[in-house]
């Protein structure tokens, strides 16, 4: 064995010698013929490197050694290092540090492997090529990581141990003591003595000398030459075109052998597996199914829970479905089943009007078929539940009769006229107007038959008849009891008649008054409207107006008399004064056509004029505009009456409504009663009893209890008392006038059927 080694050493010696002398020649010699084609430049480079190496080698022996080892570890890169001459030096230095382990590995290997290699070398010295190939394979197989370095200090600078006696620790933790430094002379001598000494390299990490094997030195040599470190590597292998061009294939299918990466386990997979393993260990991934929570539990444990529903928003619970009635029965009573005609009638109805459910009869339970609308009805209910706006509606479930107000009993409000007591027959045409004498003994009536009659109230006897040429529109008895003058309006004339009632004294007075021979001159503006004349025929005064008179009204003192004509402006209403035989126009402008006028019963000079829509209250003394305007809200006023107290007013309208005004309270009605379906023709107050009445074209008269209290805070009490019937309508007219008896609670009504009726209590 030693002999072989010495031979090899000798060879090495030679080589180095040759390198020193003429490296280029040597290299040329060693290279195979194929490599001769390599450029000269490369050779020069390799030369340079050699030189450098040698220089370093002289400085410190192990430097070069480390270099070689590092090159050995990544042999494929050697070419690259070669080409970069400047970088190579740097590499060598770095390599020394980085690959410190490798160097030691090599040393450790040395003991067993180098021997083996040597033996092999010895056996087959002749065929070096194949020999080396085997070795290369072996080397590549052997993992250098497997053998741990002797020293365990790790990658720390060695100089830290410079002052120590040891250089580190072995694997058992024992100190590795430094070897004694040899004398320089001794070492030199040793080198001189030992021919193999040049192969020895000092490893300062492990503090030992390592002897390179023959193969290692070969490798180094190759690398120095800039060749691939392994002899079996062929850098100029023939190109294999893996694509099979010969076949008529469109797609470039490769026949290349499977790459290595296909056979080695995936790194990422491995990582993922590790991850999963960790997750499993941690418990984040579970394989058994999670335990199912109980789906149902006691949701309403305690009922003490307060209302969780939105407190501010009112919740309207869904209304319940209507429960089925008898008709939905499978076997209803026969009367619930519609007849054939009714069913046919249903068919003719519109879809919406048609009853949704038509009762049917089945004789037995088993014959009931499936209800075809079951799903549809269920669906409609669902739609109702979530689509219909819900509103809480107040539905009063009361007896409608309870809505009626509690009126005081009629018995308590007696007396009032409630039944017809007398009829006054004699007129041949509709009786248009009535008037009661102050004493209550007589009534006067005017009619369409152009006559005026006076009747005795108690007996119904007709006392007197006047015949005229025109239809009588209005009659009015002078309110003074000792002054029985009757004013009669017909057409454009107003006739003041002497009724020839009363004592002689009174008669004289009346006759004086009605004798208008010496008439005073009228104001010219008035004279245009009115002319006074003596009526020869009836022995009275005839006042002719320029237009048809519609209404006359006496002042309570009996001196003034107002007439209403259908004319606007200032001429619609004139006031006659009997004593002065004078006529005055109103000093006011009337808006609209006047309908009725009224002298206020208690206050002097207060005068009410009703136009079609409104009532205005004037103070005649002030000669100004109205002091008050009452807004009735009616469409057309037909009549008006004032309470004897003077504070309350009732107004009848042509739409059948009656308004009660409290003059002190408001200009709007205190109460509006819609009592008649047709026009109200007249309204009347009783002078002393708390009664008022209205009569209408529907041939009825209403009697009301209308009590006015002295206490201002108390509202007037209005109670409907009685509906008086009896008149029959003729030509669409019913009752044309009504008047109360001045003393008794009796009511006179004048009908279009030419009868006057007296209703008593």
């Amino acid at each position: 064995m030693t002999a072989k080694k010495s031979e090899a050493a000798a060879e090495e010696d030679k080589i180095i010698d040759t390198k020193r002398k003429s490296g280029s020649v040597k290299s040329q010699k060693q290279k195979p013929a194929a490599k001769e084609a390599k450029s000269v430049e490369k050779e020069v480079k390799s030369l340079k490197e050699e030189d450098l190496l040698l220089e370093s080698g002289t400085d410190s022996e192990y430097d070069g050694d480390g270099d070689s080892l590092s090159l050995n570890s990544d042999d494929f890169d050697s070419d690259f290092y070669d080409s970069e001459d400047d970088g190579s030096q740097r590499e060598t230095e770095n390599g020394d540090e980085v690959h410190g382990h490798d160097g030691s590995d090599g040393n450790v290997d040395d003991d067993d492997e180098s021997e083996q290699v040597d033996s092999e070398n010895g056996e087959e010295d002749g065929s070096e090529e194949g020999f080396e190939q085997d070795e290369a394979v072996e080397e590549s197989d052997s993992s250098e990581d497997e053998v741990a370095p002797r020293n365990t200090i790790g990658d720390v600078p060695i100089k830290w141990y410079d002052d120590e006696k040891h250089i580190g620790y072995d694997i058992t933790g024992k100190k590795i003591t430094k070897k004694e430094k040899q004398d320089k002379l001794d070492s030199f001598l040793a080198t001189m003595d030992d021919s193999k000494n040049w192969r020895k390299i000092y490893d300062d990490y492990n503090d030992e000398e390592v002897e390179l094997t023959k193969e290692e030195s070969k490798l180094i040599r190759r690398m120095l030459k800039g060749e691939a470190p392994h002899a079996d590597f062929d850098p100029y292998a023939p190109y294999v075109d893996w694509f099979d061009w010969k076949k008529e294939s469109i797609h470039p299918l490769s026949g290349a052998p499977e790459p290595k990466r296909r056979f080695i386990p995936s790194k990422w997979e491995a990582k993922k597996v590790v991850k999963y393993v960790r997750a499993i260990r941690n418990g984040t991934i579970k394989f058994d199914k999670p335990e199912e929570e109980p789906n149902y539990y006691l949701l309403w444990g305690d009922d003490s829970a307060s209302d969780l529903r939105g407190k501010n928003l009112n919740f309207v619970p869904p209304p319940k479905v209507k429960l089925p009635g008898h008709e939905e029965s499978y076997n209803p009573s026969p009367e619930f089943i519609p007849t054939a005609e009714e069913k046919a009638a249903y068919e003719l109805m519109y879809e919406e009007d048609r009853p949704k459910f038509i009762p049917k009869m089945y004789t037995s339970l088993r014959s009931i078929p499936a209800y075809e609308n079951a799903l549809k009805e269920s669906f409609e209910r669902c739609l109702d539940l979530y689509l219909c706006p819900r509103v809480r509606k107040k539905r009063i479930n009361i007896d409608p009769e309870s809505l009626k107000p509690k009126l005081p009993s009629r018995k308590d409000l007696r007396p009032y006229p409630n039944s017809c007591y007398l009829e006054y027959r004699g007129h041949t045409g509709p009786v248009t107007s009535l008037s009661t004498e102050r004493s209550g003994q007589w009534i006067a009536s005017g009619s369409m038959d152009k006559s005026v009659r006076i009747w005795e109230v108690e007996t119904g006897r007709c006392l007197k008849v006047w015949e005229f040429d025109e239809v009588v529109t209005c009659v009015a008895w002078n309110p003074l009891s000792d002054f029985s003058i009757l004013a009669v309006a017909m057409g454009r004339d107003l006739v003041l008649l002497n009724t020839e009632l009363g004592t002689d004294e009174e008669q004289k007075k009346i006759e004086d008054l009605l004798n208008v021979k010496d008439l005073p001159e009228l104001v010219p503006s008035v004279a245009k409207i009115v002319t006074w004349r003596q009526d020869e025929k009836h022995g009275g005064v005839k006042i002719t107006h320029f237009k048809t008179i519609t209404y006359i009204d006496w002042h309570s003192k009996g001196d003034y008399l107002s007439t209403v004509m259908a004319s606007g402006e200032t001429r619609g209403v004139v006031v006659h004064q009997l004593t002065k035989r004078d006529t005055q126009k109103l000093p006011l402008k009337i808006r609209g056509l006047p309908v009725r006028t009224l002298f206020h019963p208690t206050q002097r000079g207060i005068f009410l004029i009703a136009t079609k829509k409104n009532i205005r209250v004037y103070d005649l003394r002030k000669r100004e505009g109205p002091i008050k305007k009452l807004e009735t809200g009616l469409r057309e006023i037909s009549s008006m009456a004032i309470h004897p107290g003077g504070d309350n007013l009732i107004v009848g309208s042509k739409e059948g409504k009656m308004c009660w005004f409290d003059l002190d309270l408001s200009s709007r009605p205190y109460k509006t009663l819609k009592n008649h379906p047709k026009d109200i023709t007249n309204v009347a107050f009783h002078r002393s009893y708390p009664l008022f009445a209205s009569c209408s074209e529907d041939s009825t008269a209403y009697v009301f209890h209308g009590k006015v209290f002295n206490d201002m805070n108390e509202n007037p009490l209005i109670v409907p008392l009685e509906i008086l019937r009896g008149h029959s309508s003729s030509k669409g007219q019913g009752v044309l006038d009504c008047k109360f008896h001045p003393r008794q609670p009796w009511l006179f009504t004048a009908g279009a059927d030419s009868i006057i009726k007296l209703y008593c209590h």
Binding site: Y296, Y297, L299, W300, D303, D307, L308, R309, G310, L313, P317, P318, V321, L323, P324, G325, H326, E328, S329, Y330, N331, P332, S333, E335, I337, T339, P359, K360, S364, L365, S367, I368, A370, Y371, E372, N373, K376, S378, F379, R381, C382, L383, Y386, C388, R390, P400, E401, L403, K404, P405, N418, S419, C420, Y421, K674, N675, I718, P720, E722, I723
Partner: protein
């Protein structure tokens, strides 16, 4: 400047701020209409009717607070999550990644509605109050065929069936069933649970058909909520009985549930032609079919059987005979059919009767396997049969039609069976939900039942003929002319008893007239003349006068209300009149 102008940036007020339209709501919630609908259904949110509709009449308005309520609903987020998850699944499927799709489907996010139920029904009576629709729907879906097209799964139908059976078992066990009414639409039941009257409709147990004009997604959303509600309600009710819920706990039983379904399907298919095929049939026959393999279960069930109830559920409830304090009505219901034993023929609606009879204390058996007693049992008192004629008849029992049971239940007495015997047309089946007096028309049979009830209570009611005289108008009183005061008073009392408005009215009038005539007026003859002429017209006249008089003194508002009410009453009376007219004609035709 128009009145409604609002400067930019100024806050809205009033109805504009309080209500929003549906599309506004959708926008603010960022959901589509479907999701919004679902949310509304499960949250119980409904549109409102603002006083002023700011956006116009043709919009649906929601209260802003309702929408805010939805906005904060965790379910909204959950629904969104599900939506995105569905996208994931869809993506996997469209990439043909079936494995991933399957995997994803197993881990779908789910939601629960229990919180919502608690929120909507804070107390248990609240839930019971709203149970009507729930029960009706669940019962309807229990008889619907499962359908892929409508996405109605077998599981849901089965669940509905189970829930409805559970509910019925509870009602039957606690004897809280009050009224039953067989209508064309189905059978109405009314039970009284915890003081709440709950009415529901079960369809006749016949194969139901799907109609096209129904949006099933709406129905199924409702059903989902109702199922949960009913399950929790059942839980609470069972809990109150100290019974564990859900009743089927045995894993073998659970395994059988699927089996049950398969069997019922099979039976359905084989007996489609039959008109009446009760469902319980399936369960009972399955019970017997599975006898070999689940003997343990049967043993469990049958030793609990009070020999009257078929379904497994019933026994679980019935087993628990803890005595609860019962009110009088419950006791009456419990003892109605106490000592009677019923046998159901094949063609009678078994499910309904198996529910009703035990609820009223009866014992039932039926034709088929698993029945507690056989047809030839000597103790059977009533044989319920719905055929024109029975084959072999036992003398010891009565053969009656099923309507007899329902009518007896409603009348709370055991009605005589003559009219209900086999082969006869039974008397009319009347609705127990109608108050005949209030309605204004009392059918003849209702009268009969009333008299029978009175007889059962040992009371004596006047014969109908006697009452009729009193029922006549006060006109005859008028005819009598002069009447003593005492008589008048008596008549008045009679009329009060009748308590019909019309008559009360007339009575007043009569008083009026007699009152006026009593007064000694000078024109006595005139008044009498009027009466003699046409007393009826006079009465009417006076009545009218009275009416107008009182109307006059009413305020406008009250008068209108009064008139509207009168109109309503008149309408109702018209209906009654129509029925009476028909009845009269029928009678005429019979004679």
């Amino acid at each position: 400047m128009p009145k409604h102008y609002r400067p930019a940036g100024k806050k809205k007020e009033g109805n504009a701020a309080r209500y929003m339209t549906r599309s506004q709501a959708l926008k603010s919630l960022q959901v589509n209409l479907n999701l919004f609908r679902r949310l509304c259904i499960v949250k119980g949110i409904f549109p409102r009717e603002p006083k002023k509709k700011v956006k116009g009449n043709h919009h649906t308005y929601y209260h802003v607070k309702d929408i805010a309520f939805l906005q904060h609903e965790p379910l909204l987020e959950k629904f969104r999550e599900i939506k995105t998850y569905q996208k994931k699944v869809l993506k996997a499927k469209s990439k043909k990644n079936e494995e991933l799709a399957r995997l994803l489907l197993t881990r779908q996010p789910t939601y629960k509605l229990d919180r919502l139920i608690r929120e909507r029904y804070p107390t248990f009576p609240d839930a019971l109050r709203d149970l009507d629709d729930c029960l009706t729907m669940v019962h309807l879906f229990a008889v619907l065929p499962a359908s892929d097209r409508e996405k109605l799964e077998v599981k849901r139908v089965h669940n509905c069936r189970r829930l409805s059976h559970e509910w019925q078992a509870y009602v039957s066990r606690t004897h809280s069933l009050r009224k039953v009414f067989v209508s064309v639409k189905g059978i109405y039941y009314q039970a009284e649970v915890e003081g709440q009257k709950i009415t529901w409709l079960t369809p006749h147990a016949i194969q139901q058909v799907f109609t096209n004009d129904v949006d099933f997604s709406v129905l199924l959303t409702f059903l989902e909520f109702y199922e949960t509600l009913l399950a929790f309600t059942n839980f609470k009710l069972y809990h109150s009985l100290n019974v564990k819920y859900p009743p089927i706990l045995d894993s073998r039983l659970e395994a059988l549930a699927a089996d049950l379904y398969a069997l019922s399907r099979y039976i359905d298919a084989s007996s489609r032609g039959m008109t009446v095929e009760p469902k319980v049939d399936s369960s009972s026959s399955s019970q017997s079919n599975d006898r070999e393999e689940s003997e343990l279960r049967l043993a469990q069930l049958q030793h609990q059987l009070p020999s009257s109830e078929p379904g497994a559920l019933m026994h679980l409830v019935a087993d628990n005979n803890e005595e609860v304090e019962e009110d009088e009505e419950t006791r009456a219901c419990k003892s109605l059919f106490k000592d009677l034993k019923f046998f159901l023929s094949r063609e009678v609606p078994r499910e309904s009767l198996l529910f009703v009879l035990p609820a009223f204390g009866g014992m039932v058996s039926w034709e088929g396997e698993g029945a507690p007693f056989k047809e030839d049992d000597e103790c059977i008192t009533h044989h319920i049969i719905d055929k024109p004629s029975a084959g072999h008849m036992y003398l010891s029992r009565e053969y009656v039609q099923p309507q007899w049971i329902y009518d007896s239940v409603n009348a709370r007495i055991i009605l005589p069976t003559e009219k209900y015997l086999v082969g006869r047309i039974p008397p009319p089946h009347l609705s127990p939900f109608v108050d005949n007096e209030a309605e204004g028309y009392v059918p003849d049979y209702a009268e009969t039942i009333k008299r029978l009830q009175a007889a059962a209570r040992n009371e004596v009611l006047p014969l109908p003929g006697v009452g009729a005289g009193d029922l006549e108008d006060p006109q005859n009183l008028l005819y009598a002319g002069v009447m003593s005061r005492t008589e008048e008073a008596e008549a008045a009392r009679n009329k009060k008893k009748m308590a019909t408005l019309e008559k009360q009215y007339h009575e007043e009038l009569k008083m009026e007239i007699t009152g006026t005539s009593a007064d000694d007026l000078p024109v006595e003859e005139e008044g009498e003349e009027g009466e003699e002429e046409d007393p009826e017209a006079a009465i009417k006249q006076v009545a009218n006068d009275e009416d107008t008089r009182s109307k006059l003194s009413m305020s406008n508002k009250k008068r209108k209300l009064y008139e509207a009410m009168k109109m309503g009453l008149e309408k109702k009376n018209e209906g009654v009149k129509l029925i009476e007219e028909r009845k009269r004609k029928l009678k005429k035709a019979q004679q």
